[in-house]
Amino acid sequence: MAEAVTRTRRHLPLLLALLAFPSAVFAHRDDQYLQATLVAIEPSGVRLQINLTPGVAVAQQVLAQIDRDRDGAISKNEAAVYAKLLKGDLTLRIDGRKLELKLIGSAFVPPAELRTGAGTIQMEFSAISGPLETGGHRLALENRHLTTISVYLINAAQPRFATVQITRQKRNQNQSAGEIEFVFHPLRPEVAGSGARS
């Protein structure tokens, strides 16, 4: 994901088309905020890649949290404030120990595109786990962001390092919370797994 950037693409024609033909709304997720998180566990820490896609019917509600001055654009400051809001709604633990999340990248599409239901906000957070002991560990992630309008996906990324092996994943029913059990073998060669990317 790119370094903290606010994309400035203008897709006004898309919005106008959508407004002209509102039947597109029923054809796709319209009243839900999809929050899809990919959890990449690495020897030195954890990365969370989060894709946030508001449906048409909830886009304004989400935008109210982002474009605070209602000027139709998302400033760097507004993007940072929203990232902080999201970060505050996430809890990441390894073996019960809470990890501090740090925003390492974000990409915001313009409000006009978000209102179409096709726009996705991307955010990436990292957390330093500190030295992990050899053996089994448990990562727990909870997402409490905009719970009344959201649906969630939480998945472990296929590890890029042979020293990390995912052994089990568990989620609650709506995937707002998940646990990933993994084994850390520091003596195994740190080579990228075959075809594994995250």
């Binding site: 088309a17 597109a24 054809a27 796709h28 009243d31 839900q32 096709a118 996906l153």
Partner: protein, 329 residues
């Protein structure tokens, strides 16, 4: 082959044998390009390394996600027919029929909703690179619920990544019931019903899957597999799994489909099958097939209506999306 649609804008039967060798696909593509004027040609051919165009595909309708290339509704009848010959030459008979049925479902949606963003006219064709019998190039064809990315490199070719979907996923046309993704659905329930209780316990995930995990826009990501591993299936169940996957790999013409299935067969012990949702036949449930060289997801869309009638699927190859193995750096 089923004749779909009538009238000026119909997606109709072609007289080309589907699944032709590379020379025929190149010839069909060049023939289509020859029907275009300079302005149209400038819009339809992109550089093979144009990453933005390569990734410009989606499940969404064109009003929500803007494609580039040439829009079917902007082409003349001979030009549209030439596009269909390109598709028919690159795909298997079943694959070509499935694509037509997906497009026709969108035409049904247009008629029932009045939304002009839907329908046969709203599909786009584009090429990345020049049609060649030896060098890599791509054909892209897509619109709402369809994103075909066909990479060709000599006699090698791949459909990964591609999106298929349908809404409605069941409709009547010319007195016949059409289910564009019906075989996928039936074969998945067939495989599930073949599992014993212990196998089901492994295969069935105890949480909701509300969408595709690796759908359009998720290039380069790969998730940890879940569910039941191929090594825990019987030989018959492994065959059923391959047969199910064949509904995606088999969209391509026979030789390419066979090569892909042979590859999957070699990796079958390392290929996983996961299920989420109800298990009653015909209900709206998510499933996933994931192996070293394939990931397939099938996700009914719960949007207040009947989720069995609105389906999204994705097909990827984590080792060779966009034929990356065959392209020069």
């Amino acid at each position: 082959m089923v004749l779909l649609g009538v009238g000026r804008n119909s997606f109709a039967q072609t007289n080309t044998t589907p699944g032709a060798p590379i020379a025929a696909i190149v010839a069909a593509s060049k023939k289509f390009l020859a029907t275009l004027d300079d302005g149209q040609r400038g819009k339809v051919v992109f550089d093979l390394k144009d990453e933005a165009q390569r990734k410009r595909w989606s499940n969404l309708p064109t009003a929500s996600f803007k494609r580039q290339g040439l829009r079917m509704g902007d082409l003349t009848k001979p030009q549209r027919d030439a596009v269909l010959v390109v598709l028919a030459s690159a795909l298997s008979p079943h694959g070509y029929e499935k694509i037509l049925q997906i497009v026709e479902a969108d035409e049904m949606l247009r008629k029932s909703s009045g939304g002009t963003m839907f329908g046969r006219d709203e599909y786009y064709i584009s090429f990345l690179g020049q049609p060649s019998a030896t060098e890599p190039w791509m054909i892209q064809f897509g619109g709402h619920h369809l994103g075909l990315n066909i990479t060709l490199a000599g006699e090698q070719r791949t459909l990964a990544p591609s999106h298929t979907g349908a809404q409605p996923a069941l409709y009547e046309l010319e007195g016949k019931t059409v289910r564009p993704l019906g075989r996928e659905t039936d074969k998945a329930f067939g495989l599930l019903s073949s599992l014993n209780e212990a196998q089901r316990k492994q295969a069935i995930l105890d949480f909701q899957m509300r969408d595709l995990v690796l759908g359009p826009g998720r290039d380069g990501q790969m998730i940890q597999p879940e569910g039941i591993k191929g090594s825990a299936l019987t030989e018959n169940q492994r065959q059923m799994l391959l047969d199910l996957a064949g509904e995606w790999t088999g969209i391509m013409h026979e030789a390419a489909a066979k090569a892909k299935l042979d590859e999957m067969k070699m990796n079958i012990a390392e290929t996983w099958f996961a299920w989420s949702g109800p298990t009653e036949k015909g209900s709206a449930a998510y499933f996933r097939i994931q192996g070293p060289t394939v990931i397939i997801e099938y996700a009914p869309q719960r949007l207040g209506g009947d989720a069995t009638k609105h389906i999204h699927t994705i097909y990827r190859d984590p080792t060779n999306d966009y034929g990356i193995k065959w392209q020069k750096p």
